[in-house]
Amino acid sequence: MNGNSSRKLPFFLILLSLLLFLAGLNLGEAAFVWERAVQICLSCIGIG
């Protein structure tokens, strides 16, 4: 990996991640996370 590509890679990763994050928000995934996170997860505590 040369110097130029190593400098571009972080920005590419950050941009890609930002797009994924915004796409997830647009699809309503934050609400899904909330729905799951406000219920006691029986699996997590070892009885589900």
Binding site: P10, L13, I14, F21, V33, I40, C41, C44, G46
Partner: protein, 320 residues
């Protein structure tokens, strides 16, 4: 720097678990903040948890993916993957060192006086197996008769869930105790094993099991924040590796999969300024401290080289 890191770790632990009303409500926080993921491994069923665990959330997306697609809802986990990717793209695995409550717990346990051991390096690939199988493939493809997957890592492995959620909720809600069976015993056994291992091994869970650390580690070589090794300055004393909370040898590759960017090697260990960091034009470390240089001559140079050879130093001109 270590003092600062401890304070940041403590603050992150408090903020991730900021719901102080749980002793009165006897249940978990249900406010809007739970729509946001926290950067570290912190069970969202912990009575004090103020945010969502990214690994738990990700498994839920995968477990419900096939049913969702059949119903026309296309929730694929982009929100969580993008969030983790943003953090990883900026700082790589740094959240493990600075923001993860379970990492802090392991570091504190390792301070208990006891014989200390190292783990075989190949075990550190185990966390990618847990990420691939227990977080992604099993929830996606091992489905029940209704087409739902289960959160395999949470259910069968995660000791953070047992410690932060299982045990406290058993205390708060006596009815749950009657439901505890073989699975709960298994999870408590895993927790006990991890706690015991953390007393004698540096961050064993982070190095061998943690799927969140595995995900962040994928970004270590390509993140904006990077570590740098200057072989021309290295005196091969091995202090960086000996003092590293992850047992990493930075001279073999400063941006390897297990470096959590705690910066202990840069600011506290290396007496010669052979390690530094850089981020978008900013640079830090890399200068020998007069105070630390004064400590070096206790070991003859020939002995240093010999010790370095044993620990796999590449020698001058080694890779950066």
């Amino acid at each position: 720097m270590e003092v600062l890191r401890r304070w940041v770790q403590a603050l992150a632990t408090v903020l991730s678990n900021g719901y102080v009303m749980f002793p009165f409500t006897k249940t978990i926080y249900q406010g809007r903040l739970k729509a946001f993921c926290v950067p570290g491994l912190n069970c969202y069923s912990c009575p004090a948890a103020a945010g969502a665990c990214p690994i738990g959330a990700l498994q839920n997306f995968f477990a419900f993916l096939q049913v969702g697609w059949r119903q026309g809802t296309y929730l694929t986990g982009f929100y969580v993957i993008g969030f983790l990717g943003l953090l990883g793209g900026f700082v790589g695995r740094m959240p493990c060192a600075w923001l993860c409550p379970f990492g802090l717990l392991q570091e504190l346990l390792y301070r208990i006086p006891s014989p200390k051991k190292e783990i075989p390096p190949f075990l550190s690939w185990g966390k990618y197996g847990f990420l691939l199988f227990f977080v992604i493939l099993f929830p996606l493809f091992l489905l029940d008769e209704f087409g739902y997957g289960i959160t395999w890592f949470c259910k069968f492995v995660c000791p953070a869930g047992t410690l932060e959620a299982g045990l406290p909720l058993m205390g708060l809600q006596p009815g749950l105790r009657e439901l505890a069976g073989a699975l709960f015993s298994l999870k408590v056994s895993i927790l006990v094993a991890v706690v015991a291992a953390a007393v004698i091994v540096r961050r064993p869970f982070c190095r061998v099991v943690c799927p969140l650390g595995a995900f962040y580690s994928l970004f270590n070589r390509g993140s904006l924040f990077r570590m740098a090794y200057h072989p021309d300055r290295c005196i091969h004393c091995g202090a960086c590796s000996r003092n590293c909370p992850m047992g990493v040898a930075p001279y073999l590759g400063p941006n390897g999969k297990d470096c959590i960017r705690c910066l202990k090697c840069v600011y506290q260990s290396c007496p010669a300024g052979a390690l530094s960091w850089e981020c978008a034009g900013l640079k830090g470390g890399g200068r020998p401290s007069e105070e630390k240089v004064g400590e070096v001559p206790q070991v003859a140079h020939g002995d240093q080289l010999q010790a370095g050879a044993v620990q796999g130093f590449p020698g001058k001109g080694g890779g950066q």
